[in-house]
């Protein structure tokens, strides 16, 4: 029988072994971690969007999907009422092209997106899953979850693997976090 101290030591060992196992991993369709602050800084535009429609087409030798969004709120950049976001993959003429880690959107769903590209042109989602924050209503409260929230991602600067991310937080807190990240940029 273990006494209290031995049991506590044992549990600590189990905990540390668990941490060690977690540190063994990073994501593959391989992503490099982009922090929330970096997302805010490096993106061309940030906003809240409602997905209107998706359309796949051939462009530059590949099938891409263009998703049309209604802009509901602009947090960064200058966005028109409607924007198009281009992601790799989609369906065209009997073919389905897919890439793991590329976000897909359904008409009607609402998201916060960190967009990358030329203002006024077609945008991409910065860091794919990392720049996609889905809004869900749960018990009357809107909550926000980043697609990559559960993903441990390699951070090239610290050369470590981190599982940070926005997971199921109330939208008001997310908006404060976003405002803070954007304020840091302007300062």
């Amino acid at each position: 029988m273990m006494n209290f101290v031995q049991r506590r030591r044992f549990l600590w060992k189990v905990f540390l072994v668990g941490l060690g196992l977690i540190a063994v991993v990073a994501n593959a369709t391989t992503f490099a971690r982009v922090s929330f602050r970096e997302l805010a800084q490096q993106s061309t535009a940030v906003g809240r969007f409602r997905c209107l429609s998706t359309e796949s087409k051939w462009y530059n030798g590949e099938i891409w999907t263009e998703t049309r969004f209604e802009v509901m709120e602009t947090s960064k950049g200058s966005l028109p009422e409607l924007v198009s976001v281009r992601t790799m993959g989609g369906a065209a003429a009997g073919l389905r092209s897919r890439v793991e880690g590329v976000p897909e959107f359904r008409p009607g769903e609402q998201v916060y997106l960190f967009l990358y590209g030329t203002a006024g042109g077609t945008y991409q989602v910065m860091g794919w899953q990392q720049g996609t924050f889905r809004i869900r209503r749960d018990a009357g409260i809107e909550r926000v979850t980043q697609d990559s929230a559960a993903t441990l991602i390699f951070d090239p600067q610290t050369r470590q693997f981190r599982g940070r991310g926005v997971r199921n937080i109330p939208i008001a807190i997310f908006q404060m976090k976003l405002k803070k990240a954007l304020e840091r940029e302007t300062n």
Binding site: Q42, A93, L95, M126, G127
Partner: protein
């Protein structure tokens, strides 16, 4: 608290025993045939089909681009001469292909000739499977280092570039693997160079994982699986290094079982066992109201564990079944196939709410349905809408009747 949370506890009917090891299972890239086309080219059923290559000898040819980024150099090799570098990289590619063909009991026994091309932009929708180590692509944004793009036919006769037309629905017509050459902070090292370059990723591990996507896999939540969605950190590698005696050593048992399911061999008499059942809610009020017709828990990971060794053998993403003309029915069904006979297994179900979440297996869960919203003119009787994966439940076991 919403209705789903109130009734979070779910009952599972298993034709096996109960276990509680936290892990889960392989999954596949699924595709719904285009039933707007005549049955002669669509098959007539809207049941999802697994993406797969044809496995007649030599049918999966692969080429790789010998164009390498020099400034910065993102591929680290032990050899420093130009031909030596190329040979070393080619050896890694050959070994990574052999990792998958080394699994017994499948029809994937060989790839075609591995050829070289000097074209830097060799990856593209041209009907030729390619690996590119130095091809900037419009899909790369900051934060994306490597990916695999797979093009699958949803009807017979579909064609990519000058490649041959599809003879089966679900046939993969072009699969390309891209490594980002323009992120100077991240490098990839061959196994021979990894020890001296501990800040680099292991090229062999990443390539073996991407080749899993190339073959039709989505992700697995089994930690020991090659298809777990996270690569090892810099300086480390997945599983064991391959040997001549065991070329598939880097794979986990979950990967091997998945490959046997994806490329089953009629000659394999050692892995003919199957476990199937349903994951159903204790109280139907916990089922989603929308879309209508959902009668079971969708998106549960159902896992088989060897009762003697405790090793995770295989599992599946449960929650649906499909028969005849389709569409998919969301009745909580699961089936784990190609298990070794003569063994006892324990089985359990768990929600996808840990390090792997539904967004990471979208190609296995989110692609099971097509309808008039996704595809104009889709026949209503073969249409469905994929429900949201249930990520909040606990399980109890009910013995088989």
């Amino acid at each position: 608290m919403n209705r789903r949370q109130i009734c979070a506890a779910a009952f599972a009917i298993f034709y096996g025993l109960y276990g509680a090891t936290p892990a889960s299972a392989y999954s596949f890239n699924e595709i719904v045939p285009d039933v707007r086309q005549p049955a002669s080219i669509s098959g007539g059923s809207s049941c999802p089909v697994r993406s797969h290559h044809l496995t007649t000898p030599g049918s999966i040819s692969v080429r790789w681009s010998t164009a390498l980024n020099a400034s910065p150099s993102t591929i680290i090799t032990q050899e420093q001469t130009a031909p030596g570098r190329l040979n070393e990289i080619e050896q890694v590619i050959t070994q990574s292909l052999a990792v998958w063909t080394g699994v017994t009991g499948t029809t994937l026994t060989s790839f075609g000739v591995l050829s070289r091309t000097t074209v830097a932009a060799a990856c593209g929708s041209d009907g030729i499977n390619s690996i590119c180590l130095d091809q900037p692509d419009g899909a790369f944004t900051p934060g994306v280092l490597a990916f695999t793009r797979v093009i699958t036919a949803d009807r017979i006769g579909a064609q990519v570039g000058n490649g041959p037309p599809a003879s089966e629905v679900g046939q993969i017509l072009d699969a390309d693997i891209y490594f980002n050459p323009s992120d100077w902070r991240t490098t990839f090292a061959t196994p021979a160079a990894l020890a001296a370059s501990p800040t680099s990723y292991d090229l062999s591990s990443l390539l073996s994982h991407e080749l899993g996507h190339f073959l039709g896999f989505s992700h697995s939540a089994v930690w020991s699986a090659m298809m777990y969605p996270f690569a090892p950190p810099a300086g480390a590698f997945s599983g064991l290094r391959p040997t001549l005696q065991q070329p598939d050593a880097p794979l986990g048992e979950d990967d091997r079982t998945g490959l046997r399911v994806l490329y089953p061999s009629a000659a394999d008499v050692a892995h003919t066992g199957a476990i199937f059942g349903k994951v159903t809610p204790a109280n139907p009020i916990s089922l989603p109201l929308s879309p209508p017709g959902v009668t079971g828990v969708f998106g549960a990971h159902v896992v088989a564990v060897d009762a003697n060794t405790g090793a995770v053998v295989a599992g599946t993403l449960g929650g649906w079944s499909c028969s005849n003309a389709g569409p998919a029915q969301f009745d909580g069904s699961y089936k784990i196939e190609r298990l070794s006979t003569g063994h006892s297994y324990t089985v359990y179900a768990e929600p996808l709410n840990g390090t792997v979440v539904p967004a990471q297996v979208y190609n296995a869960l989110g692609t099971l349905c097509r309808n008039a919203t996704t595809d104009a003119g889709w026949p209503p009787l073969q249409a469905c809408v994929v429900p949201e994966a249930a990520t909040s439940f606990t399980t109890r076991i009910r013995p088989a009747p």
